[in-house]
Assembly symmetry: C2
Homo-oligomer: 196 residues x 2
DNA sequence: GTCTATATTGCGATAGAC
DNA sequence: GTCTATCGCAATATAGAC
């Protein structure tokens, strides 16, 4: 390639490769070839393969910071949960590799887990927990529900749908056309499940 | 080690290693050392590292076959779903590495994905789908719910709880003592969410 | 900044003795 | 069945020319 986008080219090429095969499943040669850049540029810009992986992870997880908006938005608690579900779906549509990095780090943690992955996911969970507690204090929700169990249930419903896509693709329609219906079904179940 | 349990020793040692680091994250030397067996025994018994991985995966996923019992059991549809949730929890307690193999294959599929992983998971999904359709025909459930969305939502609630444990362990109590409460909460949400 | 060439290490697999 | 020793290769990383 040999232009001034070298660094960006490498990152862009690395995303689908790391996502599909994990940190240990890709070699620097493969990464360089896919980027159309010289092998040694990976060390030059990122200090090695692990450095590149960390850069990719940081970029991928950056969007998770937007979860903060949920706290600042002045809407009903249930609507906050719907906002979370909608944001999750649109995130996965825009960043089709995000969920893979996310779960790959959960199951086969790398050195980045403690520094990048864990804080990013924890922030999401804590934001949801805060919203739930808020809803509880307004006496909107049944008070015999455990906050953690409940928000993890909601997060699980939407995340698992995407996680299982490689298995269920030929029996379930996972096209974006159905996203609106999916969101409705999940919010339906959740709403009836948690309201007083 | 050098006893007649060589094959079994290798498999037993390989389970936690493959689960933690994935197929590409472990070397045959590391596997042999952990098993206390000679390196060459891996090729002798399994034809190589990938063969050992396939053997481990087959053994781990064998328990998933028990899902069939749900079809044969003559109980109410909702109770079938509760049976599934209970079976899932007890499976993860008995096989603490199962979920890791499961999701690792989903996010970073190996050669085993099409032959071992996908059929195993698909069977579970289809069993749940069948149970749901059965419940629909008995007019137990709201008929505006999509079967796939609904069963994936239930599966997601319980699986995600365990998947997120590495992140939420210090903010949520994941001890087996709470399993019964967890199951109750999930079934509560699900039941209220899907019943007419 | 970018390249080639290479240093070095560790990999998976197996030949062949016992 | 189990071992040691080793083959051949691919890995990451970098030195040094330009």
């Amino acid at each position: 390639m040999a232009n001034n986008d070298c660094r960006a080219n490498i990152i862009a090429a690395a995303i689908p490769l790391f996502a599909a095969k994990g940190l240990n499943g890709v070699s620097v040669r493969e990464l360089a070839r896919a980027a159309g850049e010289n092998l040694s540029m990976i060390s030059y810009y990122f200090g090695g393969k692990e450095g590149l992986y960390a850069a990719v992870l940081t970029e991928q997880f950056a969007v998770l910071d937007k979860i903060e908006e949920i706290e600042r938005t002045d809407i009903d608690t249930l609507q906050k949960f719907e906002l979370y579900v909608r944001a999750t779906v649109s995130r996965y549509r825009k960043s089709p590799y995000l969920l893979r990095f996310y779960t790959s780090e959960l199951t086969n943690p790398t050195a980045c887990f403690e520094t990048i992955t864990k804080p990013a996911i924890k922030k999401v969970v804590q934001t949801l927990l805060k919203a739930f507690t808020e809803g509880l204090s307004h006496e909107k929700f049944r008070d015999d529900l455990d906050p953690a169990d409940t928000v993890l249930a909601l997060a699980g419903m939407i995340n698992f749908y995407f996680l299982l896509e490689p298995v269920t693709a030929d029996v379930v329609d996972h096209s974006p056309d159905r996203d609106e219906v999916l969101i409705r079904h999940i919010m339906d179940i959740f709403t009836r499940g948690v309201l007083k």
